[in-house]
Symmetry: C2
């Protein structure tokens, strides 16, 4: 009477460890450890790791094991520039179909994102959830499931850093401004500018992250022994 398979369970578990930063980039993920913790056998864990490799969260080195993916500035650039295009494309297609009711829903999300919460952490968590919902709604309206899936995959790869960037008030308010402008432009049916603004929104987040290298250096693996692992022939 399980609702999810053991593979799905293991996938969610490992993904959570990576996204929350509990497992640092470069760190090895041993199949036995995960299997032992979840009290299951190795095969489901293996399959989960395979799936996560496909999603770009994990790299497998033959006969060596699975490791949390390491991010360079180049990777950040790759992900954000792609995300910018996918989001802009989604909006472009969404502009053909969006209804007034849906515009109101987007406006509501933007309003909620501006709201304050008890603690800063709560605010960030709420913002992340709403932010996600905002972009998913646009991509859903666009009606391209593959686009949604690809964007989600890219997003997962950088979700590690989003909590920390949002810790900066300047970035959070800037993000809010972008959303407001985007919705305004959608309402005005200004496709060209709306898409451009969406692109700028994502690229602005990239610029912010790249100008705060401490954010993704903080997640670096201990340089002691792990460094040797990077020696590729």
């Amino acid at each position: 009477m399980r609702v999810e398979s053991l593979v799905e369970m293991a996938t969610r578990y490992i993904e959570e460890l990576i996204v929350t930063g509990e497992l640092k980039p470069g760190e090895q993920i041993k199949e036995d450890d995960i299997a032992g913790t979840l009290d299951i056998s190795r095969p489901p864990v293996r399959e989960a790791l395979n799936g996560l490799e496909g999603e770009g969260l994990v790299v497998r080195k033959p006969r060596r094991g699975a490791f949390v993916i390491e991010m360079t500035e180049k990777d950040i650039w790759e992900i954000y520039t792609l995300k910018a295009e996918l989001y802009a494309t989604a909006l472009n297609y969404a502009m053909d179909r969006i209804t007034n009711a849906q515009i109101l829903e987007l406006k509501d999300l933007v309003a909620q994102m501006k709201a304050n919460a008890e603690t800063k952490e709560e605010k960030i968590l709420a913002f992340q959830r709403l932010h996600r919902e905002f972009h998913i709604k646009i991509m859903t309206i666009a009606g391209n499931q593959r686009l949604l899936k690809m964007a989600a995959s890219l997003h997962k790869q950088i979700r590690r850093y989003s909590f920390q960037t949002l810790g900066y008030d300047a970035h959070l308010t800037a993000s809010n401004q972008f959303h407001q402008r985007i919705v305004d432009l959608i309402e005005q049916k200004d496709r060209e500018q709306a898409c451009k603004m969406m692109r700028d929104h994502v690229l602005d987040a990239m610029t912010f992250l790249l100008s705060h290298p401490d954010i993704f250096n903080d997640c670096a693996p201990e340089p002691a022994k792990k460094q040797k692992i990077n020696n590729e022939p």
Copy 2:
């Protein structure tokens, strides 16, 4: 002394079966069959199927097995519209970095694509290879590996149909014209028009395929018993 793991071997094998159309859409892929044919055990086959599911070539229905993905017109639309954007994006970034030598290489590929071969099949196969090389070169120059990977993934999903569409001379010459124009615009450093032409090129291929429904209906599974499989609760 194997160079590739059994998983990679199984992946290549199954992928080939699907892309060549030997396995029809909707057809079940039994782990035992593949394992028996390749004379290996089930686990590597399972992992291969998992990977192919991630690439969108296979769907797994819980406790039911793996099936070759079925394509609807909606899927065709999703894939081509996305591909158009990814290719255009790649070109946009490539325009910043492309060298004159690389432009000459592209010109050479276009010239080769126009060349005739002994038989029609040979010509199509050569064209496919060169065509692939042409777009990969542009994406490589763009310098975004993730973009390349995503585009490759999308391409695999429709490669089944590309051989057949190229059987139509009209489509092949149209495709050649697009390539010629794209390279010309690259040479003239007309970024805007080059990207637009690239988009049009991909969308033109989509229009052609969608206006020849026989091409992807030909690959349909036998309606006898398999149809029942599609009954979802």
